[in-house]
């Protein structure tokens, strides 16, 4: 008897429970639907470009001939960014986790996070107005002295608006991502491993080499992958810094283009089939970054399960 009266008086509460849990479930499903929708709507809008006759696409040789130079350009810019950013980011992360005085460490971490807070368009403006001018003499030197390498083939751009400059700006933008993720991993290194290494007489560097880096390797790899995802999709730094053109091997001439910048530069004025072409390019970019991010996340979760530390 008491049981029924209890539940009956709480009837409104039970309805509230149902409504509330239903709302949270719906929100969760909405996110999955959005991600699915991103793919679906991009595909729907891209189909006209993929099925159109080759001579209607920009360049007149079909969608594939249009997309592959800018895919290569995107990869070049991202690889430059990672080659520059990775060693510096790992150094910064080690500095904050193991070298800086304890009291300063969190403040210094915040300073690096400030790098992530600056909007991408400001980086683009800075790269175009400041960095490109400052760095163009170095390109002249590279072309004169290292010109035998195809990537430094001359004549160098006099404005400095090259894919290498864009790659450097991208490197600055992915640096805080790689740094903050690697720092988290470095801090998770089991204290006992570190202390054991030090107790055996290892110097600080030997301790890091033997205890910290092996433990953190999967984490570093996934941090780099996430940085790669960011570098692939970053638009403004490239759109403002690079004076784009056809695919060239030389990094210090104007030329090359990335998918994201191509979309940003052409989409506002585009109409008709051009819109579909650009959306199809976006779809390609989406698939590439999705693959990179999913691999990175998979590495992280696998690492979590097998990490014996915690």
């Amino acid at each position: 008897m008491t049981a029924t009266s209890l539940t009956s008086t709480q009837g409104a509460g039970r309805a509230g429970d149902k409504v509330f849990s239903g709302a949270t479930l719906a929100a969760g499903c909405l996110i999955l639907a959005v991600l699915f929708g991103v793919a679906l709507f991009l595909v729907v809008q891209a189909i006209p470009a993929l099925t159109a006759p080759a001579d209607k696409i920009q360049g007149g040789q079909g969608f594939f001939a249009y997309i592959w130079p800018i895919v290569i350009g995107t990869l070049i810019a991202a690889v430059i960014a990672l080659v520059i950013a990775t060693p510096i980011a790992i150094g910064v992360a080690l500095f904050i986790s193991h070298f800086a005085p304890r009291r300063l460490a969190s403040g210094l971490g915040y300073v690096v996070d400030l790098l992530a807070a600056i909007p991408s368009v400001v980086y683009g403006a800075w790269g175009a107005a400041f960095l490109a001018k400052q760095i163009s003499p170095a390109y002249g030197w590279l072309a004169a002295n290292m010109g035998w390498l195809p990537i430094f083939g001359g004549p160098a751009s006099t404005t400095g608006k090259t894919i290498l400059t864009a790659g450097i700006v991208l490197a600055i933008m992915v640096l805080p991502i790689i740094t903050s993720l690697s720092r988290e991993i470095f801090l998770q290194t089991p204290k006992l491993h570190e202390e054991a290494a030090l107790a055996l007489g290892a110097t600080r560097w030997e301790m890091i080499k033997m205890a910290v880096l092996p433990f953190a390797r999967p984490g570093i790899i996934s941090a780099i992958m996430l940085g790669l995802g960011r570098a692939l999709g970053e638009t403004m730094a490239v759109a403002l810094v690079l004076s784009s053109g056809a695919l060239t091997a030389s990094l210090i001439q104007s030329g090359n283009q990335t998918i994201a910048a191509e979309i940003a530069l052409n989409f506002p004025e585009a109409s008709g089939l051009k819109v579909s072409t650009l959306i199809a390019a976006g779809l390609v970019l989406f698939v590439i970054t999705l693959a990179v991010n999913m691999i990175a996340r998979w590495v992280i979760t696998r690492h979590k399960e097998f990490s014996g530390a915690n």
Partner: protein
């Protein structure tokens, strides 16, 4: 007996033998600065080059001295320390340079009368030419862009916060680590990595299909920004809800409180400071996004207060168009002055939001006392 005490009296005991003296780094630094200045004086002095050359000399000097006195292991340790500290200093360079460039170029634009209260409506290349050639005032301002940014970001926040917060609640309170919860967590992580321009294209494609081709309004941009904002809100709220102690929930259940009332009245109020600061950080992240707004809201030169109709300007797209397509192609200086002014305003906005997020987290944090 006395003979055993003699080594202690010696200045360099057995313990410190084979080590560099304590003043070694300072001595090497001083020498490196002097030698660096001398080298730079020969090839033309500039402070940046002096810093770089001195840093390299410092590293070489300290490592080789250490290699001679302490042996190769200690020398390698010193080299690693130099590289790690050096990489931190290198990482600071762009930060300082960007902020300095924006300040130097942006302050003249910001101090222009009417910069914050005028739009670009009616400001043509002719005015800019006059400003450069005969020293007239640089007209035009960012009022329309500021207004657009505020409207688009507000609408994006209104969309993202309920969805993000409810999802976080589902993950923490109802998901029980089930298959759906795991899938949502995974895809939220993946969503964090969606390129911003793809989010913009998605919103554009969605509205092209639903409303009609060529639909570009502030609301489309807000949807695009929500796609970027929701995962950030979910992750930060989830972390905050997770650290609410289970005792609080159990105490509420023990008093016969329903689960949804427990969540609304106990769990969320406990975590509200962290949630609020997470939301503020998410706003700071999307307020500077350029690409998604560019492909969804276009760009306008006049004030548009209707989020649901017509093209709309925003601060990032204003900067972008003023640099790439100056109002007067022959005299781009006034445009770049306006762009840097807008960049300064944007950076100030982002920094203030970051600061507010930290303050909110600190001030409204629940008392830790037990």
């Amino acid at each position: 007996m006395t003979s055993t005490l003699t080594p202690v009296r010696s200045k360099r005991s057995a313990l410190t033998k084979g080590q560099l003296p304590k003043y070694a780094p300072y001595a090497v630094l001083g020498a490196a600065l002097i030698v660096g200045a001398a080298i730079l004086a020969l090839i033309g002095f500039n402070p940046f080059g002096w810093g770089v050359v001195s840093a390299i000399l410092f590293a070489i000097g300290l490592v080789s001295w250490s290699a001679v006195v302490e042996g190769s292991r200690k020398a390698k340790d010193k080299l690693a320390t130099c590289l790690v500290v050096g990489s931190f200093l290198v990482a600071l360079l762009p930060l300082v340079s960007v902020i300095w460039t924006v300040l130097v170029n942006g302050i003249p634009g910001l101090l222009n009368p009417g910069f914050l209260t005028n739009s670009m409506n009616g400001v043509t290349g002719a005015f800019d030419n006059k400003a450069v050639e005969s020293g007239g005032p640089v007209l035009g301002g960012i009022y329309h862009a500021l207004l657009g940014t505020v409207q688009i970001t507000l609408l994006a926040t209104v969309i993202s916060v309920p969805v993000g917060l409810l999802t976080a609640i589902y993950l923490v309170e109802y998901g029980h680590d089930g298959r759906l919860a795991k899938a949502i967590t995974f895809f939220v992580d993946v969503m964090t990595g969606i390129p911003s321009i793809v989010a913009g294209l998605f919103a554009a494609a969605f509205f092209f299909v639903v409303v009609g081709p060529g639909t570009k309004t502030g609301a489309v941009a807000a949807v695009a920004l929500s796609v970027l904002m929701i995962p950030v809100v979910v992750r930060s709220s989830e972390e905050m809800l997770k650290i609410v102690p289970n005792e609080l929930r159990e105490a509420a259940y023990a008093l016969g409180v329903r689960k949804w009332r427990t969540i609304l009245k106990v769990v969320i109020p406990t975590a509200i400071s962290g949630i609020a600061s997470g939301v503020t950080l998410a706003i700071a992240r999307v307020i500077g996004e350029t690409a998604p707004i560019l492909v969804t809201a276009g760009f306008a030169t006049s004030i548009n207060t209707n989020v649901f109709g017509g093209w709309m300007a925003s601060l990032p797209t204003f900067i972008y168009t003023q640099i790439l397509n100056p109002t007067s192609p022959s005299n781009p200086d006034p445009s770049s002055q306006r762009a840097w002014g807008a960049a300064l305003v944007l950076i100030i906005l982002v920094m203030v939001l970051n600061l507010v997020a930290r303050l909110v987290a600190r001030i409204f944090a629940p008392k830790a006392g037990r």
